[in-house]
Amino acid sequence: MAGTVTGQDANVWIAAHAAGTAVTDYTDKDHATFGISDFSLTIDRGSIEEDLIGMPGNYFDQGKLSLNGSLTECKFGASGNADLLNSIIDGTGDYQYVTISGQISDAAGKTYLKWYLVSCQITKYDVTIGDADTVTEASIDFIVLDPQNVDYTTGLISDAVHS
């Protein structure tokens, strides 16, 4: 069925960076370096509600936008890439923000959704250690700090301010 893809087709890139700078070198910043086993992104749009007298229901309108997501990685710290750890612990200088970008697929014939989110903050880093049959993983939650900058252009969801 055209347009249907699996996780094999996806790409994710993650890189910490300083405020006001753009990541230009994505060497060792891809999903393989982090060992990502799942990734999700959620976009929420709130509703505002105004109670109405004399009507069988209330008035609703579009509310505020917010974005957050999560991922699980098995190669973290010096064994993979430490950008996420450095960002949540340090959070200043070259680790103040995290850019998280990716695409559902780059297969020809369709334009799949892509995302380029430059104002991400890591809000949670949870490491779980089990027995010898259990791969040690880290679960990460992140949030977009500048949702007011988010727009959609031909499949690209981005918070980078375009000139």
Partner: protein, 150 residues
């Protein structure tokens, strides 16, 4: 009531979102919830409270596997831009038909797994004008229709 009571499956359903059918979005499930709140007045000296019908709300959700610009991307664009979408469809020819123009996409979520997992996205929506919803049963045609516009 329909001339002949009929049982339908998901195969008989149709969903149209912003003029595009279910195949554009690769919809694997769809739900529509119509709720009516209650207004309750507690009563002293009675064995129960006094209850009236309250406000109406309509919302729903769907899951689609086509995360492309001509698939769920159309809904994400409307969500980010703050524009409403239209959602219509039916559960079967002689069953429930609906046509809602004031739908707001409240949430979009996609998850990427392994090569064994289809990448799909979930959409939650709500009706901005639930108080406009009307229903009519077309006895001659044998279906019940809901809509949110005059």
């Amino acid at each position: 009531m329909a001339l002949t009571p009929t049982l339908y499956t998901g195969e008989d359903a149709s969903i149209v979102i912003m003029g595009s059918g279910q195949s554009y979005f690769g919809i694997s499930d769809f739900s529509l919830s119509i709720s009516r709140g209650t207004a309750e007045q507690k009563l002293v000296g009675e064995k129960g409270s006094f209850v009236l019908a309250g406000s109406r709300s309509v919302d729903g959700s769907l899951t689609g596997c086509k995360l492309t610009t001509d698939g769920l991307g159309m809904l994400v664009e409307r969500m980010i831009d703050g524009q409403s979408i239209s959602i219509s469809g039916s559960t079967g020819d002689n069953s429930l038909h609906f046509y809602f123009k004031s739908c707001q996409v409240k949430s979009f979520n996609f998850s990427i797994g392994t090569a064994d997992d289809i990448t799909d996205g979930s959409i939650d929506f709500t009706l901005l004008y639930p108080y406009k919803v009307s229903s009519t049963t077309q006895d001659g045609k044998g279906y019940t229709k809901l809509w949110d516009f005059a």
